[in-house]
């Protein structure tokens, strides 16, 4: 029953899982995400241990503006949804729609990054530099690492868009798009814990 017969020259229904290489890529990426979980988890642990050690710098409660955080969260959450739409378009072999949804995802990612840069510049102006206190160092390391992941995702998906335009959707390019989508969701999942642990818990006095 598992033997699929396909019309010549047409992509299979789930092109990312059509080849062994594609399936291995997806599995390998899950294992990579397990490692990424450990990376972020240790940064979270360091932040949790150091978040009250502010020396004479500003405290979390004094610093954070929840409106800005809510806006950033909305942007990233929406971008996760648009990347789901991209994968759905890929499953329907609508390459044009796939590329468009990826472009929307990248643009939302850029918007999030601009917001984060604005936020950091604002904090430095408030006297919250990287070396101000153990709290500030662990804050910038954790949130900055997440921001770097967003930046990497933006560059990665941009390159994939270019490749899709050049080579089209094949059993070689499909796993790449699928895996990049997983990466983008993972970034969103990490952000859920950042806004919970860093920003919201910082506001609870």
């Amino acid at each position: 029953m598992s033997a699929h017969t396909h019309v010549e020259g047409q992509l299979p229904h789930e092109p990312e899982k059509a080849t062994l290489e594609g399936r291995n890529k997806v599995l390998g990426f899950w294992l990579f995400l397990g490692g990424e979980t450990v990376l972020f988890g240790t940064l979270f642990a360091a932040f949790l241990a150091l978040r009250h050690q502010v020396l004479d710098g500003p405290t979390a409660n004094h610093l954070f503006d929840l409106k800005l955080v809510a806006f950033a969260t909305a942007i990233l959450l929406t971008s996760s949804l648009t990347s789901v739409f991209a994968i759905q378009a890929m499953h329907q072999q609508k390459v044009k729609s796939l590329i468009n949804w990826l472009i929307v995802t990248v643009l939302l990612g850029v918007g999030f990054l601009i917001l984060e840069i604005y936020e950091f510049v604002h904090y430095v102006g408030e006297g919250h530099g990287f070396t101000t206190s153990a709290f500030s160092s662990s804050f910038y390391t954790l949130v900055g690492f997440h921001g770097a992941h967003v930046l990497f995702g933006i560059m990665w998906i941009t390159l994939l868009i270019i490749q899709l335009k050049r080579k089209g959707l094949t059993v070689v390019t499909a796993p790449k798009v699928y895996v990049a989508g997983m990466y983008w969701h993972f970034i969103d999942v990490v952000w859920v814990f950042i806004f919970t642990v860093v920003y919201l818990m910082g506001k609870v006095v």
Binding site: H13, L81, V204
Partner: protein, 106 residues
């Protein structure tokens, strides 16, 4: 034999019927709702501190569960090793966080 083959492909196309965006939009609305609950709890928070922490962690874990199941296709079959990989990571993270919260400032 030929007709047999034909019915098999037909079944395959049926089973592969492309999924609609509906459940992903439901997952999105659910995520927004959980985020809203978390923010509202902190902003309107005249309640017990520990209770707020429990609500915050509960909504975060629930939201991650929803997103991984639907958006990262964790609920689809053939994800056992993926689950093992992620859970191994989560186990290490759990150990680190417990250490940082309860051991560092003993």
């Amino acid at each position: 034999m030929a007709s047999n083959n034909h019915s098999a492909t037909e079944q395959n196309t049926k089973r592969h019927k492309v999924e609609g965006p509906k459940k992903h939009i439901v997952a999105f609305i659910f995520s927004i709702l959980l985020t809203f609950i978390a923010f509202a709890t902190v902003i309107g928070g005249e309640i017990n501190k520990d209770f707020i922490y429990i609500i915050l962690l509960g909504t975060a874990v629930l939201q991650v569960f929803v997103q991984m199941a639907f958006w990262m296709h964790m609920k689809d079959r053939g994800h056992r090793f993926a689950l093992i990989g992620i859970l191994t990571g989560v186990f290490v993270v759990f150990t680190c966080v417990i250490m940082a919260e309860y051991w560092v400032w003993w």
